[in-house]
């Protein structure tokens, strides 16, 4: 075949459960060796999508291809994919080594090879000393590594991970994120990673598909998803975002002017073809907004505001200000200077000007 094959290709896949639609007409192409994340709130259909790729569920309509091969109703045990389950699903009556060896035993691989590969797999996840233990004798993080080793030892074309880090504490989660990424790069296996944690998705993924209500809203690299969200939902779900609703007044060279109901005018970069009179929303991320004290700055997107709340979180200071129309607005300032001088920080009640550059804000469909 001359056409490029994808590790996984979903073609108009829909899944219905007794009258409710879990996945709606999803089409995706995931490349070989890609770290691909399915990101969305719980109930958005991301786990159902993963389960269909694994073969635990069959699509109501649409086709799934793995390495160019149409899956149809091929059962899970005959698909060249392996899964790391959210709850790990380790076999409680087997030792760690037996758990890891399970897939190879099913393939009837000879005992000596199994022993060598189990040892390698346990080395890879730094659990060589734990082979004889039962899963219950391990910590959550260790169980997670066993689940990973148990899946990877089979050298699948595609590894499916269903929120594998959700049960770990923050510190461990960060460590495992880096470790997973480095294992994926070393082995060159395609990873499809389900998560509801946007930071996790941004950190690890080559590409992300953002899902809501069974639909894929946007697919793109982390920077695209964060900097060029196509919908209000994506902008809101990934990171923090300020939104200003309004009606389009004018469109000039990609800069769109909106007027709010309160008569305030804002200007942002047009992401969508909009015309005067359309309802639209301006989105601007809090770290892209500047606060100015004293003299009113020149240019567009400048508002007088009052500081309402200040949260110092170490690396940043997060400030909530009130705009003249009464709406709250988030501003994050990086703490680039080390100081204890209280005058260097904002306090509630300070009069300030809020401003942002047109190219740092987007006009989205309402």
């Amino acid at each position: 075949m001359n056409t490029p094959t994808w590790a996984v290709e979903l073609d108009h896949v829909t899944k219905e459960f007794r009258g409710s639609t879990a996945v709606r007409d999803v089409s995706l192409k995931i490349a070989d060796g890609e770290f691909f994340s399915l990101l969305g709130p719980s109930g958005c259909g991301k786990t159902t999508l993963l389960r269909m790729i694994a073969g635990f569920e069959n699509p109501s309509s649409g086709d799934i291809y793995i390495e160019g091969e149409l899956m149809g109703e091929t059962p899970a045990n005959r698909r060249d994919v392996n899964t790391v389950f959210q709850s790990y699903a380790l076999f409680p009556h087997m030792s760690v080594a037996e758990n890891v060896a399970f897939g190879l035993h099913m393939k009837k691989i000879n005992k000596a090879d199994v022993a060598t590969r189990v040892k390698q797999a346990l080395d890879m996840v730094q659990l060589h000393a734990f082979g004889d233990r039962r899963p219950k004798q391990l910590s959550g993080g260790q169980q997670q590594r066993v689940a990973l080793a148990r899946a990877l030892i089979n050298e699948p074309e595609v590894l499916l991970l269903d929120e594998p880090l959700a049960a770990l504490d923050l510190k461990l989660r960060k460590e495992m994120q880096l470790e997973l990424k480095s294992i994926q790069q070393r082995l060159g296996i395609t990873f499809i990673f389900v998560t509801h944690d946007q930071e996790e998705a941004l950190t690890m993924s080559d590409r992300i598909a953002v899902m809501e209500l069974g639909k894929v809203l946007q697919v793109g690299q982390p920077t695209e998803i964060y900097e060029r969200p196509k919908t209000r939902f994506v902008a809101d779900f990934i990171g923090e975002c300020n939104f200003i609703d309004g009606t389009v007044l004018a469109v000039e060279n990609g800069a769109v002017t909106l007027e709010t109901d309160g008569g305030v005018r804002v200007v942002g970069t047009g992401m969508f073809p909009v015309a005067a009179g359309d309802h639209a929303v301006l989105a601007v991320r809090p770290e892209k907004v500047r606060l100015v004290e004293g003299q009113q700055p020149q240019g567009t997107n400048v508002f007088a505001a009052i500081v309402e709340r200040v949260a110092y979180i170490g690396s940043d200071t997060r400030i909530i200000v009130r705009l003249p129309d009464g709406s709250p607005f988030d501003v994050w300032e990086a703490n680039t200077v080390s100081t204890l001088d209280p005058n260097q920080y904002y306090t509630a009640g300070d009069p300030v000007y809020v401003t942002w550059a047109t190219q740092n804000s987007l006009i989205l469909e309402r």
């Binding site: 694994a54 392996n82 699903a89 399970f102 148990r150 089979n154």
Partner: protein
């Protein structure tokens, strides 16, 4: 008793300031404790008396005349009892084997969702657990009589009650108990493990034998032990469904007490009690033993 209770109350009344009187027992708890004592007395005194009298040297009467193992010795020398025990074990063993197989399969079928009549089947299975033994026994007797007549009429076969009718009857009531016990064990089984096994390349057959069965095994064994115990202890169903010459321990004991309650009967009963207790405790222990 009343005096003691009154004293306790006074003690607790002043108890707050005195660190000595830490315990505080409200009236409700007292009432419940008394009730529990009463229940246990009611349950266990007859049993204790029975066991004690199996060691009583007196041949008749309720007077303690010293400790003896004579009745146990006579018991072990009694050939009729030996035969009855062997019959009981045959019935219990075979009916347990059959009932455990069918009951486990039934529990596995009930676990699968989405087939018509599952609920009705589930409820129906509990019926033998709650209906009185005698109803079960009479209906089985009626069933056999009817079946024999049909066999006679249609196939010309002359069938009669015997050991096998008792075994079939025991299977009939034991299936329910096995299904309930195995069902509990299945309810605790994490179905993700089956998916994990399939994901790692195991066929449904391999998944069952390597993952599911080892994990529900204690439940199956528990069900089998319970079934074995129920079969050994059964009198009513056996009495109605046995053929001539079939004598189990319970029917043998019944036959003997029609004359009088002899110390030997006490001794057999004590041994049956001991055996059943061990079986039931083992069964409970098996069920409770989760995957360590």
């Amino acid at each position: 008793m009343a005096k003691i209770l009154a004293d306790k109350r006074i003690e607790t009344k002043h108890g707050r300031s005195r660190p000595v009187a830490k315990r505080h027992m409200p009236w409700g708890t007292w009432a419940l404790t008394l009730n529990a004592i009463f229940v246990y007395t009611f349950l266990y005194v007859p049993i204790i008396v029975l066991v004690l009298f199996s060691f009583n040297a007196a041949k008749v009467g309720a007077q303690w005349q010293g400790f003896t193992l004579q009745w146990y010795n006579e018991l072990f020398a009694d050939a009729r009892l030996g035969d009855a025990l062997w019959t009981s074990l045959k019935i219990a063993g075979l009916s347990t084997l059959i009932a455990t197989t069918i009951g486990t399969l039934a529990a596995l079928a009930l676990e699968k969702r989405g087939w018509r009549g599952r609920k009705a089947f589930d409820t129906g299975l509990y019926l033998p657990v709650i209906i009185p033994d005698v109803v079960m026994a009479v209906s089985l007797l009626g069933f056999f009589t009817l079946a024999f007549r049909q066999f006679q009429a249609l196939l010309g076969l002359n069938l009669a009650m015997g050991l096998w009718t008792v075994i079939i009857s025991h299977v009939a009531f034991n299936i329910s108990f096995v299904t309930v016990v195995v069902g509990t064990s299945l309810a605790n089984f994490d179905r993700r493990l089956e998916e994990a096994a399939a994901d790692l390349g195991a066929t449904p057959w391999q998944t069952f034998w390597k993952i599911k069965f080892p994990l529900i095994g204690p439940g199956v064994l528990g069900g089998a032990l319970l079934s074995f115990t129920l079969s050994l202890d059964d009198f009513v169903v056996t009495f109605f469904t046995r053929g001539p010459g079939v004598n189990t321990l319970t029917t043998e004991v019944y036959g003997r007490i029609k004359k009088s309650i002899s110390p030997e009967i006490n001794a057999i009963s004590s041994l049956m009690l001991l055996g059943s207790t061990i079986l039931v405790l083992t069964s409970l222990w098996m069920q409770r033993r989760r995957q360590a």
